[in-house]
Symmetry: C2
DNA sequence: CTTGGAATGTCAACAAGGCTGACGTAGTTT
DNA sequence: AAACTACGTCAGCCTTGTTGACATTCCAAG
């Protein structure tokens, strides 16, 4: 109350930050709701979704790469990958250059699931973007990038080469 | 490439939506990283954080209210609440009007933990906001609100009375 | 006023998906 | 030949979600 002259610090009020925190919580739940619903129909969970997403995005990525991106232990990832390979959604090929590495690819079935999941997720994202308008979208991405850990931001930035 | 005249659909490209999805994933991880670190020092997890947050925000709320907000089963919430009550962070008082209800309050110790957690989380949020600038912040909140399920949006909106 | 149903909360048991630690097996590097 | 790296796996634990069964309390209809 004392400091509320129209300073550019106005938007940094504790109460407003708290509201932003809640908004983030609720929004993330909305963000994962559709894929979760779809996945529960198969026998998969959010962990499978993440693996499928990042394999789709970087076909031929190695297990180690995936570990770094997902930030889980290899035991945890392995459990997920095993079921995906067994069910024929992911293909794990021994590397040529270095035969210790496994390169991961989605099979046709894997691509189908990925498409189904990301269609749903993109639909919600697209709707939110449309309602909020282009300006809001730019701000949204700006804030998100500053909220993640720096190494992840670098990772995101790397994939933006050739966007324009 | 073909459709890239400055249409207002430009920002709805599938590839851009995919990037926004990843940004959301990484940002949420950053968003929870600091509290998670703090909580692992005590014997608590993210579920405890959520309970403490919403009890702080609505002192005297009932278990049922909390269930609706958190979107978990009462059994799941109960486990968390039990440990918080046992450890003296939360006070659970039998309702006067309806003695089936339990009204939840943070104790002094509970408020202390809440403060520690939210200080960390707000610090990151504040930093991201400062780097992104006020315009970006407005857009950020706009998009988040459109991404959550409508009932949650109503819930958020209700607490914004008297902001201005 | 009693009795049956709805609302609220607790206890028990299970599953998913994180984690650590230990170990095996190739393949690569020095 | 030795050491290191990438990957897989076994065993066991924790958190946090789930269902099912049950106790308590309230309220409303008979």
């Amino acid at each position: 109350m004392a400091e509320a002259h129209s300073d550019n610090l106005l938007f940094l009020t504790d109460e407003q930050l708290r509201r932003a925190i809640e908004a983030m919580f609720f929004a993330y739940r909305g963000f994962t709701a559709d894929p979760d619903r779809i996945l529960s129909g198969y026998d998969y969970g959010r962990a499978h979704h993440r693996a499928v997403h990042f394999i789709h995005r970087s076909p031929g990525t190695t297990v180690n790469n995936l570990l770094a991106i997902l930030g889980v232990t290899k035991q945890s990832l392995n459990r997920v990958l095993r079921t995906l390979v067994e069910d024929g959604l992911v293909d794990s090929r021994v590397g040529n250059r270095d035969r210790r590495e496994r390169h991961l690819f989605l099979t046709a079935a894997g691509e189908t699931l990925e498409r189904e999941l990301s269609d749903a997720q993109r639909a919600r994202m697209r709707a939110a973007f449309r309602e909020a308008g282009p300006n809001a979208v730019a701000g949204f991405r700006e804030v998100l990038e500053h909220m993640m850990d720096p190494e992840m931001r670098r990772h995101i930035a790397a994939t933006r080469e050739g966007e324009r």
